[in-house]
Symmetry: none
Subunit: 184 residues, 2 copies
């Protein structure tokens, strides 16, 4: 049985931790700052997440990426919609922050690296399924591995949003689809 | 009060680190090479910057990456060499670390964001010059803006090295060059 007070404090802690992550970066996600921001005792934060790294990881996670699930033919318009949704999300500051924290955290934390690897593998598997459908419908005019397809499709969205701090026009998405050999 | 010897050694270390970064790329910015280049003991370098990432970040501020300088026709082989060098560097863990530190730090630090924006603008300007040459030599078969070219060329390298923790084969680089409309 879950104590409803415990559920409430957990939610308040996660909300506070994500707010701090967005405003000040991962270094601000300490038990003390999170407790203060959430208006909760520090001991309560420790009870839910004993280690700072667990607290940060909890702040960053909480959602499986909702992209590239359940591909349907014709693949090109389906994939265009998926990339459009992803690009729009990735242009949001809080999504940029969490993406980069996950990427950067993986350098020093094996736990975060696991979380990143899990997300990356899921994306590759979903793209593999989509490419197999595109091969059977005749939309795919060139050979491309699922790993390469992920790099070619998602890499430019990361660069545009996280490095150039810009948005992704539809014309760029069409160019990405051309680039992996999906015929118009 | 600052010890003047400390100020002098700090300056000498940064000068040496930037010289190495410019001449040989981020992988060359190690405590050992920097100490050698600066004519200073390795322990002194460690005293100023304990971690390799800190040393590299310090060197990167106010300096700039040695890629895409001085394009020469034909543009495709020149650009292939530039991307090959960049991809090989980016597969090194310490270069991944500093790239991600720069990207992630820009979310919460205006100073780091300035540094990132400066680096991104320099890369775009250099690619613009290269694309202009490719247009005059007839190598460029499609219209692509310098911003889009940067996303399409560098984004997949970032995804492959920093997200997939993988390396970049030559075939992927050729695909990137095809993708921006540079004829073989």
């Amino acid at each position: 049985m879950t104590d409803p007070r415990s559920t409430r404090s957990r939610t308040a802690i996660l909300t506070a931790a994500r707010a701090l992550l967005l405003k000040e970066g991962p270094a601000a996600v300490t038990h003390q700052r999170v407790a203060q921001e959430a208006g909760i005792g520090r001991a309560t934060v420790y009870r839910h997440w004993a280690q700072p790294e667990q607290l940060l990881l909890a702040a960053m996670s909480g959602s499986d990426l909702p992209y590239f699930r359940d591909p349907t033919p014709p693949v090109r318009p389906w994939l265009r919609d998926q990339l459009r949704a992803m690009a729009t999300e990735m242009a949001l500051p809080e999504v940029v922050a969490v993406t980069l924290t996950l990427m950067q955290g993986a350098v020093w934390s094996p736990q975060i690296a696991d979380q990143r690897n899990h997300a990356i593998a899921a994306i590759t598997d979903r793209l593999r399924a989509a490419l197999e459908i595109a091969a059977t419908t005749g939309e795919l005019t060139a050979d491309v591995s699922p790993d390469d397809a992920a790099s070619l499709l998602i890499g430019p969205l990361v660069y545009r949003t996280a490095m150039q701090a810009g948005t992704v026009p539809d014309a760029l998405i069409d160019r990405l689809l051309d680039g992996i050999g999906l015929s118009r």
